[in-house]
């Protein structure tokens, strides 16, 4: 059964709707402005939705943040929505976090992953080797970490 989740959608305001209408009218776009956003899935039960990390991500006009409460819901979104990134908190599920990453990649290896962890760099490198993950986030991640993450995603071409 799918677990509860909620979406933090930034810029769901008149400006965004107006842009969508203009795009459709001038260029004949059939997709809405909303669908151009890249989905970032957060499986981070201990993070406050009002934290600087989450609000900084959701305030980005290119990003739609979806927070999930269970690993099953996370994997369903990976399967059905092919998010640009999954942010995974170590210890969020009874399964080992790296096993969940392998589950994600088995569904869609194009999905980027990043882990929130206090693991020392050597252990992290050893355990994450070959999984193609982004550099880990500290516990707890900050607004600055979110800005760095968005910049990294930009360099990877996620927003192009």
């Amino acid at each position: 059964m799918a677990g509860p989740y909620f979406q933090v959608t930034a810029k769901t305001n008149a400006e965004t709707v107006w842009k969508s209408v203009v795009l459709q009218a001038v260029f004949g776009y059939t997709t809405s402005y909303f669908t151009m956003k890249k989905n970032i899935v957060l499986f981070t039960p201990s993070l406050n939705p009002a934290s600087g990390f989450i609000t900084t991500l959701s305030d980005d006009e290119d990003v739609r943040v979806t927070t999930v409460a269970t690993a099953e819901e996370m994997l369903r979104l990976v399967r059905e929505e092919s998010p640009a990134l999954v942010v995974l908190e170590e210890g969020a599920d009874a399964r080992k976090a790296f096993d969940l990453v392998i589950d994600i990649l088995s569904i869609n290896a194009m999905v980027n992953t990043i882990m929130i962890t206090a693991m020392d760099p050597e252990s992290w490198h050893e355990k994450s080797e070959g999984l193609g993950m982004l550099e880990p986030l500290p516990v707890p991640p900050s607004a600055t970490d979110a800005r760095k993450l968005l910049a990294t995603l930009g360099r990877l071409g996620v927003f192009t």
Binding site: S128, E129, G132
Partner: protein, 141 residues
Amino acid sequence: MEGPHENMEQEEKDMIIGIPSTQPGGLDARFGAHFGHCDLYTLVEAENGEIKEVRTLPNVPHQQGGCLAPVQHLADNGVDVLLAGGMGMRPLMGFNQKGIDVYFAANAPTVGVAVRAFLAGNLQKFTQDLTCGGGGQPIAG
């Protein structure tokens, strides 16, 4: 692990083989050990087990976590088979999900040697136990 002759069926049709290479590429170029960090790719078009055409393809910029950029790049350029020396689990899964078969050619000194070994059915399919961190013998990648 699948046997060395698993690819025999593929020889009977046209295919594009991608090989990580050092400059300037081509059959005489040295084999690139790191598929994501290689100078460029040599693309070999083969038909019925014979080499028909050889050309080169520039690589794309690579950074940590960006190992799927070369996967998409090679898929976009019609590559059917990749010969590789080292690779992580994520790009291997990515190639497989894109329908690109990967074969293990770590010890090939040149691109030409790797291609001829593949066309002769002498290369093994790259499986997860060969990947970096895959639980088997670690391979640089």
